[in-house]
Each structure stands twice: as C-alpha cells, then as structure tokens.
C-alpha cells in the first residue's frame, strides 16, 4: 500500500537483539547509512567529533547519542529510529545486550512485530543470544531472522557460518522457535546489509533489506471473540459513555454484551467518536466509547464480551512469567497484577518450575525458598484476591497476558497458559479461596484482605419518602452481587429491638441515631459495609457518627427529594397523618430537617431513577476504594 505520493505508508517495527558487543548498534548505524536515511551532516559531524577526540569513528555512535553511552560504548536503552525501503517504512528498536538492561530489551521487543537477532561470528552463541531468543518467543514475536555478524573476523568462512547456524537453530528448536532465516553479514563494512557482499559469493540467500521486506505487518485480531476492556466511564455532558479500546473482535450497535467479572448484561445503544464519520461498528484496535440501553453499573476493569463467547472469570490461573524486578517474585508476598485495564492484588499459589532462560536448566532452590529471581522465568499458578476476566494467551493475546507491579514498578510480565479452566465463574471452589491465617489479634487490615474490600458506613439521610429504604435495599443487593459483605440497618430492624425504648422527641431521635451510629461502626470494624437508612434530621447527630469512624469510612449520602414530592409519594401515609396532627414531631412538617452541608454523594431522587441513584453511589464507592488502595 502506498500513498498518493508514492511514499510507503505501511510500517513495521523491528527489534534488534543479541548479546552485548555482537554489533547491534553498528548494524543499525550501517543500515541507516546504506538506506540513505541519515540526516544531512550527521555522519560528518560524528566523524569530526571522533577525530577531535582522537578515537576511531564508530558506526554505533549514530545510535548511541547519549553522552554516557558514548563513554561506555554500550546501548543503555531502546532507541527507536525510522528508515524506509521502497516497500514500506521501518521503525528500528535497538535493544541493549547487557544483562542488566534486560528490562529495556523487553520494552523494545514487546513493541516489535519482528526481530533481528545478531550473533558475533567470532564469539559464537552467548548467554544473551539464547536468553533473548527465549524472551522473544515469550513476548509473542514469531518473525525472527538471525544475522551472523562480524564475518570479516572469520575470513567470511562459509563453514563458520554453518556451524553457528546449526548450533543456534538446534537451540531454538528446543524452545519451539523456527527462525525465518540466517544471514551472514559484516555490519561494519556493509556486507549483505543493503547490497550483496563481494566477500561472500557463496551466499545465495537474500540481503538483510530483502529479508525485511518479506516480514509481515501484524494483523489486528478482528476475527476473534469481542474483548472490550473498559478504561473509564465519562459523564462530561448528559451522556454516560464507557470508554475503551476494542482489543479483539468487533462490536456493533444492538449487540447484547456481558461485562466480566460482574456478569451484568446490556445492549450497545451507540458507538461514540469525535470528529469522525459515525458508524455502527468498531473493530480491534479502535479506541471508542459506547452508550448502553440499560443503565447498569460498570467500572474500569470490566471486560465487555458477547454473551456467546465470554472470557474466563476466575481467581487462579497458570502462567509463564519472566521477572525483571530487583527483589525476587516471592511466594507469600502480595503484588498488584494488571491485565488489560483490570488491577487486582495477587499472590503466588505455587511455583511449578523456575528456569534459567539462557540454558533452559531448572534453577535449584533450597527447601522453603520459593521465588522467581531477577531475569529468571517461572512456570507458576497465580491466585488473585478477586476473580478477574482473562483468556489463554494462545486464544486471545491482549487478555491473555499481564504484568506484575511490585511497589511502584512494573517488575514482571506473564502469559496465561492453557488449562482446564471452568468456563464460567460460578464455581465456588475458584471463588472462595481467600484464606488468611492470623497470628495474634486479628487486625482491620487482615479482615480487609480476607474480605477483599474495606469495611465502612454508607449513611443515607433524607426526608421520609425520599427513597432511602428503597435505595438501601437495592444498593445492598448490588454490593452483595459484587461479592461484598454488606448489611442494611433501618427502622424496621432497629426500632423494634435495639431502640424499642425510644420515641420521636429530639432527645430520643439523637439517642436513636447515636446507637445506630455505634452499631454501624461495629459492623465497619468487623469488615462489613454497613448501609443505614434513617431520616437522621440533625446535622450534629450525623457529624457525631462521622467523628467516631476513621476518616473516609463514613459516606454520607443525601437522598434529596423536595418535601412536596415526598408528601405526594407518602408511601406509609405518614405525611397525611402528620398534616392531620395525628403524628407529632414529624420531620419536614412539624420538626426540622437539617440539610447536609457537604455530603459525599447527593441523590436528587425526584430526577433520577432508583438504578441511576444506586449506580451513582456505587461509582463513588468504587472511586474511593481505588483511592484507598493507592494509599495502602
């Protein structure tokens, strides 16, 4: 495909990997020069600098522009640069060969579609030649060409080339990799880069440039089952838009979709874009927004799929993982796992095997030492604190891989292995493995870890008939279905027992709320989400409850409907009685209601439906849960 101006518009990303000093940067510098891609004056400038410093000019300096690299002569990070052939544009990612810089090699390779792996003809296959080959495969790169470099140091010997080819091909075979081809080159002199080498007339295969043009641009997974991980929910105007990128498959208006892991369903009402032609369909790779026909609570992390082909939804899976962190990935510690837009705490359940990726040998550990060390690869079972949606990497790549965050840093990456996973999540064995042992007094944090959420109080306040009990009941059901421990305190279960000695005088009302507040606090301490539904008309009473709870654990929800609306609703006929003076001290009629000054959530129930109101509270709770996770 070319543009109207005959310029290539297709682009392919290639990573250049290999052991340190096997000539990656030199190769890239030469490739640039030989394709006429250097900026005017750059070569001369560097040659002049070399002359001034009294050192020989190095092709590698074209890439290694940073001062520290020029001094050490090694590539620290993955630099990315562009060149083009007649067929298309290329992005070259030059990955460092030093073992310490493996995370940079991984960064480079994870973004590539094809790889060129360099092996020094003189030194032969080295530790990182093998490790890089192994990691390329793990990172999902299938198009690999091996360049046997520095052939000039081996007198351009065909026998030496064949010897290296055989050794490395045999090794790749053991990890299931078939390279596209091996090419003998001498990067420093340009042999077999852009033009055929006069020094190796025995070579009948292609030049590097010719082989590059044979690589294929990665196709987006359009024809797989739909996976649309939700990135965010926007309400910039009166629309409620679920934003995300279609990672696999296609989505269209009218599709019935299910969100994992909550299993809520809805129908796509529209596909939203800005300043683009409106269409009713979006395919893999497109960052879009969708509106739904039914208002349901969906937050970041949920994965939308067609009902006919949902992802797995479990709290344990098998994986193959490489570790880059300074501290080892150890059993018994808790980490953050990120998969698509999901984030969840996880631990290692069991380690099947730890291997050295440069030798494929199993790493021997002392009994009781269970970890994957830096630059090692582990085959293991991961356990997540709550169920997540995923696929096997072999089935759907974007939802079949994850990273592990240790502290502030992404420290490892893994792909999910195929296994006999149960298809849907209602398998209690997989959901109820949250067992933690406590030594000594059970702490609030331990309760939170076991429950998988914080305990706190959601305090609904408002006039009689505003909708407190209805919202409390619905909210309880929604939270329960999300796997939370939740309980509602309302007049029905408190007034007849705990507070049966109290009437409706201001003093009794205050005592009633005090007792409810204390009970709610106990529930919160026990790790439960306690929803209360009381008129609680006095600000001072509510503030007292706020004060006895730790900060952030009192969520005041003002259920706000105008008095005339409440009076019209009058579900228990109380307003009529109050107007007839049959009930004394009735809030709104004959007793005051003190409006909350800064409630965490305000619900105008005369304008919003019950599901909309409940969704608003859920969104607030979800956001504060996330904020709390950050601070823990």
């Amino acid at each position: 495909m070319t543009t109207a101006n005959g310029q290539p518009s297709e682009q392919l990303k290639i990573v250049i990997v290999g052991h340190v000093d096997h000539g990656k940067s030199t190769f890239v510098g030469r490739l640039f020069h030989d394709t006429g891609s250097l900026p005017e004056g750059k070569l001369e400038q560097l040659q002049k600098i070399a002359e001034r410093r009294g050192v020989p000019f190095e092709w590698a300096n074209l890439m290694d522009a940073l001062q520290s690299e020029r001094d050490q002569n090694i590539t620290i990070d993955t630099a990315q640069i562009w060149f083009h052939t007649r067929k298309r544009q290329y992005v070259i990612i030059d990955a460092p060969g030093h073992k310490e810089f493996l995370k940079n090699m991984v960064t480079g390779a994870a973004n590539a579609e094809a790889a060129l792996l360099l092996i020094d003809a003189h030194e032969g296959v080295q530790e990182n030649s093998r490790r890089h080959g192994y990691l390329l495969n793990l990172l999902g790169i299938r198009q690999i060409a091996v360049l046997v470099n520095k052939m000039d140091l081996e007198d351009y010997s065909e026998a030496r080339f064949q010897q290296i080819e055989k050794e490395y091909r045999d090794w790749l075979k053991t990890i299931g990799v078939t390279p596209k081809l091996f090419i003998p080159i001498a990067a420093k002199h340009g042999d077999n880069i852009a033009t055929r080498s006069p020094n190796m007339s025995w070579w009948k295969g292609p030049t590097v440039l010719e082989s590059l043009d044979d690589f294929k641009v990665a196709e987006l997974p359009k024809n797989q089952p739909l996976r649309l991980p939700i990135q965010d929910v926007y309400r910039f105007d009166d629309r409620r838009i679920f934003a995300g990128r279609v990672e696999a498959g296609s989505i269209k208006v009218g599709d019935r979709i299910v969100f994992s892991p909550t299993s809520k369903t809805s129908t796509v009402r529209s596909i939203e874009r800005w300043n683009a032609l409106p269409t009713d369909v979006a395919h893999a790779g497109e960052s879009i927004g969708i509106q739904l026909t039914e208002q349901i609570f969906v937050a970041r992390g949920a994965v939308a799929a067609l009902e006919t082909a949902p992802p797995y939804e479990l709290s344990r899976f098998k994986a193959r993982l490489f570790w880059l962190g300074r501290q080892p990935f150890a059993k018994g510690r808790t980490y953050k796992l990120k998969l698509a837009t999901q984030e969840v705490e996880c631990t290692i359940e069991s380690i099947e095997k730890v291997i050295d990726a440069s030798t494929l040998e199993t790493v021997q550990r002392q009994p009781g030492e269970e970890f994957v060390g830096r630059h090692e690869v582990g085959e293991l079972t991961i356990h997540t604190k709550k169920p997540i949606a995923f696929d096997a990497h072999a089935d759907i790549i974007p939802t079949g891989r994850f990273v592990i965050v240790d502290g502030f840093d992404v420290s490892g990456g893994g792909i999910i292995a195929e296994d006999n996973y149960p298809k849907r999540s209602h398998d209690s064995h997989h959901k109820s493995h949250n067992i933690y042992w406590s030594r000594g007094k059970v702490t609030a944090r331990q309760r939170e870890l076991r429950n998988g959420h914080r305990g706190y109080v959601v305090w609904l306040t408002g006039l009689s008939g505003a909708g407190k009990s209805t919202i409390a009941t619905e909210l309880e059901r929604e939270l329960f279905n999300l796997g939370r421990h939740v309980y509602v305190l309302d007049g029905d279960n408190v007034r007849h027992g705990l507070c049966s000695d109290l009437a409706f005088s201001p003093k009794d009302r205050t005592e009633n709320i005090r007792r409810v507040g204390e009970v709610a606090k106990l529930f919160a301490e026990a790790g439960v989400i306690c929803i209360t539904a009381f008129i609680s008309p006095y600000r001072a009473d509510r503030d007292l409850v706020r004060k006895i709870l730790p900060e952030g654990k009192f969520v005041e929800v003002f259920v706000n409907a105008p008095l005339n609306v409440c009076e019209e609703r009058d579900p228990k006929g109380l307003y009529a009685k109050a107007r007839a003076n049959e009930i004394k001290n009735f809030t709104g009629i004959s007793a005051p209601y003190e409006v909350p000054e800064s409630p965490e959530v305000e619900l105008a129930t005369d304008k919003f439906s019950v599901p909309e109101s409940v969704a608003k509270v859920l969104e607030y709770l979800d956001a504060s849960d996330q904020a709390a996770e950050v601070s823990i």
Partner: protein
C-alpha cells in the same frame, strides 16, 4: 486500519489511561504543531472535551502571534489555561541575549524552572507532553509514561519497563510522570494528520513572502526560520518527504555544546 489511524488510536488510549490514573493531570501546550495535534487528540479521546488544564510556559520571548493564537483557541475550544512564568529571572534580566545568560541557561530558567514552579504550585502529578522520538536522540529513549523525581530529573539509565500497554502509573509522593502520547509519531505523521483532520495550525509554519517558514517554534532570540516555499499543509508534507535536514536545525540552544540538549532534558526540560 491505516497507519495514521493506528497512531491516533494508540494516542487516545494513552491519554485515557493518563486521565484515569492521575487526579492532578495537566497538558503542556507550547502552541506549536505537535502540542496542538495533542490537544486535538485530547478532544478525540474525551469526545469533544478537554477535561484538564493546559499549561503554557511563557518565556515572554515567544513570537507575539503565538500568544494571540493561543488566546483565540482557548476561547473557541473552551480551554482552561494555566500560564507559567519565571517572574524572578525575568525581573533580574539574566536572560539571553540581553542579559548574561547563555542560550541553554536561559532555557533552564525561563522554561525548565518555570515549568517546575507551575507543576509544584498546582500539584500536578501527571503532565502530558507532546515530545516525539524522531525529534532528537534523547527523546528517542523516552517511554510513554516517564517518571521524574522530586527535582524533576529524568533517570535515563534506569527507566521502567513498558510492555503490552501497561504503563508506570504507581509513583512515590513528590515525583511526577510525564506522559508522551505522540512519542511514536514522526514530523511527517504530524502534518499528515493535520491535513486529514483539518486542524487549525498557527500560520508561522507556512512560508511567507520572503520564502521562509518556521519548522519548529520557540523563543524568537533562538529560533530561526528555514528557507521554504511551502505555503500549505500539503506543500509542507511534500517538502518533508524530501528533506534530510533535522527538524530542530533552527533551534540554536540545541547546539551550544555537544550534549546541551541532553543535559537540559535530564534536568527536567520537556
């Protein structure tokens, strides 16, 4: 999907990640072509809205029509603007060329320090910046999500791994993250996108009667036009397809010493 659309979708994804992950997010807007494309992409990502403030570091040496253009777009597109200025240094007069500062020192105080001041003042923890890898070699080493320490410094030797679109969004107090949604775009891609989307761009980029245009915009004492006859976006695209001159060749501060720009960037320059 064509290549420009791939770039566009990736940039939107990155911006949405940033908006979700940072409570105090801002975007640098230099008025130039790149950050204006970035602004356009923000409107794409947030469906016509720009839900965070734009920070413009004003050195007072900007070409006057840049400020007029800035204020007009702010009105037309309903943007929140935060202007950062190093008032102390401007008052002391230690700038280039009148004062005793070199070009690089002047960039250091009027741009880098002013930026640090405005980030500190508003407690921004995430800053979206329109740098591109193909602009110059130090930017080629950047990540999409790139951490800066408490002193705004960039540790280029020890950057976080970035794979499978999982970015560094966890960070210590006092540090911040630079977010680079345009990292993978080239100068040519920027102009192709401006053409496709019909984005209004400041006219300084187009050739004047003297046969000169700006290829990269900055402060007038240190930014020089190039010889060009390109008067339209289409003509600029044609010109770029043939050129071998680096984009920042008209930016004098890059050339004060071999590693001038690298030092500035390590210290927190954008």
């Amino acid at each position: 999907m064509d290549y420009l659309s791939k770039l566009e979708n990736q940039s939107i994804y990155i911006m949405r990640e940033a908006f979700n992950k940072f409570d105090n997010l801002a975007m640098l807007w230099s008025i130039g072509k790149d950050s204006t494309v970035l602004l356009w992409l923000a409107r794409k990502a947030f469906l016509g809205h720009v839900p965070f403030p734009l920070v413009h570091v004003d050195t007072t040496y900007k070409i006057p029509s840049m400020i007029e253009y800035r204020d007009r777009l702010c009105r037309d597109w309903n943007l929140q603007l935060v202007v950062g200025k190093n008032e102390a240094v401007l008052a002391s007069g230690v700038t280039y060329p009148q004062g005793k500062a070199t070009r690089v020192e002047c960039c250091g105080t009027l741009k880098k320090d002013a930026l640090k001041h405005v980030l500190d003042k508003h407690h921004f923890t995430g800053v979206i910046v329109g740098v591109r890898r193909d602009e110059e070699p130090t930017r080629a080493k950047e990540r999409y999500f790139s951490p800066r320490d408490k002193n705004m410094e960039w540790n280029v030797e020890d950057q976080p791994p970035e794979l499978w679109d999982q970015f560094k969004t966890d960070f210590d107090k006092g540090t911040h993250i630079r977010i680079h949604p345009l990292l993978h775009w080239t100068e040519l891609n920027i102009w192709e996108y401006i053409q496709r989307e019909n984005i209004p761009i400041i006219p300084l980029y187009f050739a004047n009667e003297k046969g000169e245009r700006f290829r990269s915009l900055g402060c007038y004492p240190c930014t020089f036009p190039i010889k060009s006859t390109a008067r339209t976006v289409g003509e600029i695209i044609q010109e770029l397809r043939l050129t071998k001159t680096p984009e920042r060749s008209g930016r004098a501060q890059d050339k004060e010493s071999e590693d001038a720009f690298e030092k500035l960037r390590r210290d927190g320059y954008m």
